[in-house]
C-alpha cells in the first residue's frame, strides 16, 4: 500500500495525538496513535479517536478498511491512563472514573459495530500492548502481531481488572479458560502464545507487519461485502451487548475507587516504567510487570498446572 496520500477532506482534521494515512486504491484509513509521554488512552487521545470514528460514520462508503497502528516505536498501546486513574481514585471521583469508562465503551462499541457501517478493521500490533491496549486490538476483525510484541492484562496485579471489554472479547475469541487464565493471572504473553490461543490472527516477523497488513487488505477487498456480511452474522452468533459492557465498566469504576495505597503505588510504578519504554530504554512496562509479579509472589499461574501456561 502506498502512503503519504492526501487525506479525504471529510476525515482531515488537525489531530494532536493521531496521525492519519490514506490509501485510496482500497480506501484504507490508517490511524497511528502517538500519545506523549505515555502511549496510553488518555481522555484527549480518546476524544480524537472518537472524532475519527464520527467522521467515518458520517461519510458512509468513504472508508472501507480501518487500520489501527501505533506511532510510537516498540509500543502499541499501554491501555488505560494509569496516572489519571490514580489521581481520580485519590480525589474519590467516581463520576469521572465512570465518565472515562463510558468514553472507552463508546469507542469499543463503534469498533464492535464497524462491519455494520461497511468498515473492515485491522489492528497492526508492532510492540507491547497491555490492558486496554490489548482490548482495543482484539476488537478489530483482524489482529496482526509482530513477533516481538507481548501483551497481557496486568490489572489484577494492582487489584483491578480490565473492564473495557476484556472478558467479552477474550472469551469470544479464545474461550473462557483462556480469558480466565489471562485476566486472573495478570501474566504477559508472547505473540506466538496469543496466536495459539486464537486471540491473534496472524504473527509475522519483526518489521514485516506493514507487508502483512497490505496482504490482508488486498485479500479481503475483493470479497469485502461478503466478509462484512459474515462478520455481522458473527456478531449475531456471538453477540456482545452494550448494556453488558456498561454494567462491567460501572463495576470497574467502583472497584477502582476501592484501591488501596499499595495498589496506587504499583500503578504509579508501572506508569513510570511505561515512560522508560517509550524513551527507548531497554526495560519498560512489560519488564516492570514481570518484576511486580515476582514481588507480589502470586504464583498460582506458575504452578505449571495450567494448560495455557504450557504454551511457551
Amino acid at each position: 500500500m502506498s502512503t503519504g496520500q492526501a487525506l479525504p477532506t471529510a476525515v482531515d482534521r488537525p489531530y494532536k495525538y493521531l496521525w492519519l494515512e490514506w490509501e485510496p486504491e482500497f480506501s484504507v484509513l490508517t490511524t497511528r496513535i502517538a500519545v506523549k509521554p505515555i502511549q496510553c488512552y488518555s481522555l484527549a487521545a480518546m476524544a480524537e479517536l472518537q472524532q475519527v470514528f464520527n467522521d467515518i460514520t458520517a461519510n458512509p462508503g468513504l472508508v472501507r478498511h480501518f487500520v489501527m497502528a501505533s506511532g510510537v516505536r516498540d509500543v502499541f498501546n499501554f491501555g488505560g491512563d494509569l496516572s489519571l486513574f490514580v489521581l481520580l481514585v485519590r480525589a474519590r471521583d467516581l463520576d469521572s472514573l465512570k465518565l472515562y469508562a463510558r468514553r472507552c465503551v463508546d469507542l469499543v462499541w463503534w469498533l464492535e459495530n464497524a462491519a455494520q457501517i461497511g468498515v473492515h478493521t485491522t489492528a497492526l500490533v508492532q510492540g507491547d500492548t497491555l490492558g486496554g491496549g490489548l482490548e482495543s486490538a482484539l476488537l478489530h476483525h483482524n489482529v496482526i502481531f509482530e513477533r516481538r510484541a507481548q501483551a497481557g492484562y496486568p490489572e489484577v496485579l494492582f487489584n483491578l481488572f480490565p473492564g473495557m471489554g476484556a472478558w467479552h472479547l477474550t472469551v469470544r475469541k479464545g474461550g473462557f479458560a483462556i480469558a480466565n487464565d489471562m485476566i486472573l493471572s495478570g501474566q504477559i504473553y508472547t505473540a506466538e502464545q496469543l496466536h495459539r490461543a486464537g486471540l491473534v490472527d496472524l504473527v509475522v516477523e519483526d518489521g514485516a507487519g506493514e507487508v502483512a497488513l497490505d496482504k490482508v487488505v488486498r485479500s479481503a477487498h475483493p470479497k469485502l461485502r461478503g466478509i462484512l456480511a459474515a462478520l455481522q452474522a458473527r456478531r449475531i452468533a456471538a453477540p456482545i451487548a452494550y448494556e453488558s459492557l456498561q454494567t462491567v465498566v460501572e463495576h470497574w469504576a467502583v472497584t477502582a475507587l476501592r484501591l488501596k495505597d499499595r495498589d496506587l503505588r504499583l500503578m504509579e510504578r508501572l506508569a513510570r516504567a511505561q515512560v522508560r519504554k517509550v524513551g527507548g530504554a531497554g526495560e519498560g512496562a512489560v519488564e516492570e510487570i514481570k518484576k511486580i509479579e515476582l514481588d507480589t509472589a502470586w504464583g498460582f499461574e506458575r504452578t505449571g498446572l495450567s494448560e495455557w501456561s504450557t504454551l511457551t
Binding site: K36, P37, I38, S42, L43, A44, Q50, F53, N54, T57, S83, L84, V86, L87, L88, R90, A91, R92, D93, D95, S96, L99, R102, R103, D106, W109, W110, N113, I117, A241, Y242, D261, R265, E268, A271, R272, V275, R276, G279
Partner: protein
C-alpha cells in the same frame, strides 16, 4: 433490543475532570521529566536534598499568604472557595517549621535558610501566584493548590522513600515535611475536587487552568535546577 447510537453522546463534564484533561500534558510532563524520574529512582545527594528543602521552604512560606490574598479578593458568590482556603490555610500553618526541622537534620542552620536566594523558577512560581490572585482572577489559586497537591500526593511518597534510602535517614527524621504531606494531600485532593466542581464561571475556570499549567511547568523547572 435497544442500542444507543454509535456516536459519542454529548456529556457535560464536571470541572474537576475538565481541569484534569486540559492540564494533562503539563502534569505528565512533570511526572515523566527525566530529572524527576531519576530522583524517584535514585534519591538525592545530601547537597541536592538541602537545595530542594531550601526551595520548598519558600514554597511553603508563601503558600498561605497567596491563599489569603486570593481569599480576600474572592467575590461573595465564591464563599465555598473562601471557606476551603481558610481550612487549608489552618492546616498548612506552621509547616514551614517542618521544613526547617528537616533542614537542621541535614545540617542547614536557620541563618542559612534566611540567606537562601530562591531560584528563578521559584521566583516565577511565587510571583505568578501572587499576581494571579491579585489581578488575574482570585480563583486561580485553586490551580496552584491542585498542582501542588498532585505533586505531593503522587510524588511525595516515592521521593521521600528514595531520599531516605539514599541518605540512610532513620524513621521520618529529615523527611518529615515531604512524607507527611503524602497522606495529607491525598485527603485534600478529595476536598479540592468537591470545591472545583462548584466553579461555574468560565473566566474563573480559564484562570485555574492557566495557573495549573504554569505551576506544573515551573515546578518542573525548579526540580530540574536541583
Amino acid at each position: 433490543m435497544h442500542h444507543p447510537a454509535i456516536l459519542l453522546p454529548d456529556v457535560t463534564q464536571p470541572f474537576f475532570i475538565d481541569l484534569v484533561s486540559r492540564t494533562d500534558e503539563a502534569r505528565r510532563s512533570f511526572e515523566t521529566n527525566p530529572r524527576v524520574l531519576r530522583i524517584v529512582a535514585d534519591g538525592l545527594s545530601v547537597e541536592r536534598y538541602r537545595q530542594l528543602l531550601l526551595e520548598l521552604y519558600h514554597v511553603v512560606w508563601h503558600f498561605n499568604p497567596t491563599c489569603a490574598a486570593a481569599a480576600s479578593r474572592l467575590a461573595d458568590q465564591h464563599s465555598e472557595i473562601r471557606y476551603f482556603l481558610y481550612d487549608h490555610m489552618m492546616e498548612e500553618k506552621g509547616h514551614e517549621e517542618w521544613v526547617v526541622n528537616d533542614l537542621e537534620v541535614v545540617g542547614v542552620r536557620r541563618q542559612e535558610i534566611d540567606q537562601h536566594r530562591p531560584s528563578n523558577a521559584l521566583l516565577a512560581i511565587n510571583g505568578y501566584n501572587y499576581w494571579a490572585a491579585d489581578r488575574r482572577n482570585a480563583c486561580s489559586v485553586l490551580g496552584m493548590v491542585y498542582a501542588l497537591e498532585v505533586i505531593a500526593s503522587v510524588y511525595g511518597g516515592p521521593i521521600a522513600s528514595a531520599i531516605k534510602e539514599s541518605l540512610l535517614l532513620e524513621d521520618d527524621r529529615g523527611i518529615s515535611f515531604i512524607s507527611s504531606h503524602v497522606t495529607m494531600d491525598a485527603e485534600h485532593m478529595a476536598e479540592l475536587r468537591v470545591v472545583l466542581n462548584k466553579v461555574y464561571d468560565s473566566a474563573a475556570k480559564e484562570a485555574i487552568v492557566e495557573s495549573t499549567i504554569f505551576n506544573f511547568e515551573q515546578f518542573t523547572r525548579l526540580l530540574e535546577g536541583i
